[in-house]
């Protein structure tokens, strides 16, 4: 499978990473190298094999449905680039 420039731009947009025109070519080549490297996995017979989920069979830990944390709005927003009254500020989304 080979990735063309259009696909590189589409993937970059899905990944929300801006790419310049100069970056598209080299990125495409690198992605193709990696995809060529993983191509060999297609030769493995995986019929009837379950995807791995854990090292040892283990039941997912559960806890009571209770409030265990909270009331730390100051700490939550402390590292945000822009805030107002305990809200994160972002550019306008809806006109």
């Amino acid at each position: 499978m080979s990735v063309d420039e259009k696909t590189v731009r589409r993937i970059a947009h899905l990944a929300r990473i801006a790419v310049t025109d100069e970056e598209v070519g080299p990125l495409g080549a690198e992605l193709n190298n990696i995809l060529a490297f993983v191509e060999q996995l297609g030769t493995v017979d995986v019929s009837g094999v379950e995807p791995m989920t854990s090292v040892l069979p283990m039941a997912m830990k559960k806890r009571e449905d209770a409030v265990t944390d909270g009331g730390r709005a100051d700490a939550v927003i402390a590292n945000a680039p822009e805030t107002e009254d305990h809200y994160f500020l972002v550019p306008k989304v809806v006109e």
Binding site: R16, A18, K61, N79
Partner: protein
């Protein structure tokens, strides 16, 4: 007497207990060594005030007869572990200035046991790399050099700062993380010991996530025993990480002297890869001979799916990374670069904040998870993981107690030597270590000798799930047989 930073962690612990050394003296010796070693760029941030305050608190505890297991032991913390009130960057510009309001489970366990924080250690950006050359804050220079050369070498990665700091005696031990080999490969490159415990042995809570089904924390230290002491403190159940095992932590230190009499050590034939240097094959044979001389039975085994581990890793790890790193969007923390609308703000922020290797892996991950490809790539890779895990299970069911392999396909290379190489060539560094992450097993790298260039080479032991004790026992036999690696003189100071 040599400077206290030359002691092993166990020796320092004994000296503190015997009151022949104070925690303040021990910490000060390290802070002095760190100040002289800035050319290595191992520490991204030194925290001397905090270190001295913690050391003084330790001296008070010792005086009161209330010393805890790691009382007064100065450690470096890989900058992937969140430390409350202390900048945590993951080696990325996108987290520059980030001050966590919480402490990672692993580092909190170390402070609970009385350890002293010296500072935060450099790493590959988001732990993605095998040479520490992807850090946004500069390369780490290995304390090792080739014979008759002063060309700077890489310390390995991603825990390059951890390995370099331990080898250069800039801490008694360090925390590290291992997603595909990031503890064991740098340990092998720097003549230090590093263990990646079983997936689930250490809590991942508060550690910056790379690939959640593979990431595991562990220590790097100068001896097997020091690693055992550190892992005992780092490990343990944690309700905040659902993948962290609810298992008691064994007395790892007690297992160190247990020996290998009666154990069966497997030698997997698939690890004899094409183009493997003769020196590495020789070292591997030597390691098997040492274990045999100590009473183990050596048995050739087959792990038939070995060659698929690395390509499968390069689907699973980037896929999980692309999901985990979606959180860096310029809204809640870290860098923000404005744009004409919110989508442009996200795209500009991530374009400016992430380095090349991180972008490449996010893109690969996004591609393999995108509509129509999920089953063909991610699900298939996870099925191949099951096959890799079954290979190991079959060997263990057949009576093998641990598996011996080389740790890396070569010794350390020069900084910039692989700059123009294909990314896949760099990925091949992890060919012997990545299988262990894919199967979730414990693996330890232990120094076994020097190559003809005078650089350290390591061997790896792979164990049964949650049987790190056998690895410590067998690694100690290798350490005793090979002799402790003579670390390089401090040319940087």
């Amino acid at each position: 007497m040599s400077s206290p930073n030359e002691l092993t962690l166990a020796e320092a612990r004994d000296a503190l207990k015997a009151k022949t050394l104070s925690a303040r003296e021990l910490t000060s010796a390290h802070l002095d060594a760190m100040a002289k070693a800035r050319a290595l760029n191992a520490y991204l941030l030194e925290t001397p005030d905090r270190a001295l305050a913690m050391a003084d608190a330790s001296d008070a505890k010792i005086a009161a007869g209330e010393a805890r297991p790691l009382e007064g032991i100065p450690l470096g913390i890989k900058d992937l572990f969140c430390t409350e009130g202390v900048e945590t960057t993951a080696g990325s510009k996108i987290l520059k200035g980030f001050q966590p309001h919480y402490e990672s489970a692993v580092s909190a366990n170390l402070w609970r046991d009385g350890a002293v924080m010296l500072g935060k250690l450099n790493l590959d950006e988001f732990a993605m790399g095998s040479s520490n050359e992807t850090s946004a804050f500069g390369n780490v220079v290995s304390p090792w050099r080739r014979k008759d050369s002063d060309a700077p070498l890489v310390p390995g990665g991603s825990s390059g700062g951890s390995a370099a700091a331990v080898a250069a005696r800039l801490c008694l031990g360090a925390t590290a993380t291992d997603t595909g080999g990031s503890i064991r490969q740098p340990a092998a490159f720097t003549g230090t010991v590093g263990i990646k415990p079983t997936y689930g042995r250490c809590s991942r809570w508060g550690t910056v996530a790379f690939a959640s089904s593979l990431d595991q924390a562990g220590p790097i230290a100068r001896t097997v025993k020091d690693c055992a002491i550190l892992l005992a403190s780092m490990s343990g159940a944690d309700a905040r990480d659902t993948t962290c095992a609810d298992l008691p932590v064994p007395d790892f230190e007690a297992s160190v002297g247990r020996g290998v009499k009666g154990l069966t050590i497997g030698i997997p034939k698939e690890y004899r890869v094409d183009g493997m240097p003769a020196e590495i094959q020789k070292l591997w044979d030597e390691g098997a001979a040492w274990l045999k001389a100590a009473g183990a039975t050596i048995k050739e085994i087959s792990l038939p799916h070995t060659s698929y581990a690395l390509p499968a890793y390069y689907i699973v790890a980037p896929a999980e990374a692309s999901s985990n790193l979606a959180r860096y969007d310029g809204v809640r923390y870290g860098l923000r670069v404005p744009g004409k609308d919110i989508a442009a703000m996200y795209e500009n922020t991530r374009a400016a904040g992430f380095g090349r290797e991180v972008k490449r892996r996010i893109m690969i991950g996004t591609y393999v998870l995108s509509a129509g490809y999920y089953d063909a790539y991610y699900v298939r890779a996870q099925k191949i993981r099951t096959l890799i895990k079954r290979d190991f299970e079959a060997a263990y069911a057949d009576g093998v107690d641990a598996i011996l392999t080389p740790a890396t396909p070569s010794s350390a290379f020069g900084i910039g030597e692989k700059a123009n190489a294909d990314p896949v060539e760099m990925y091949l560094n992890d060919v012997f270590t990545v299988t262990v992450n894919m199967a979730g097993l414990p693996g330890i790298a232990v120094p076994a000798g020097l190559d003809s260039q005078g650089l350290p080479l390591g061997l790896q032991l792979i164990g049964r799930p949650f049987d790190e004790e056998t690895l410590f026992a067998a690694a100690q036999v290798i350490e005793d047989s090979a002799g402790r690696t003579q670390l390089p003189a401090a040319w940087w100071a």
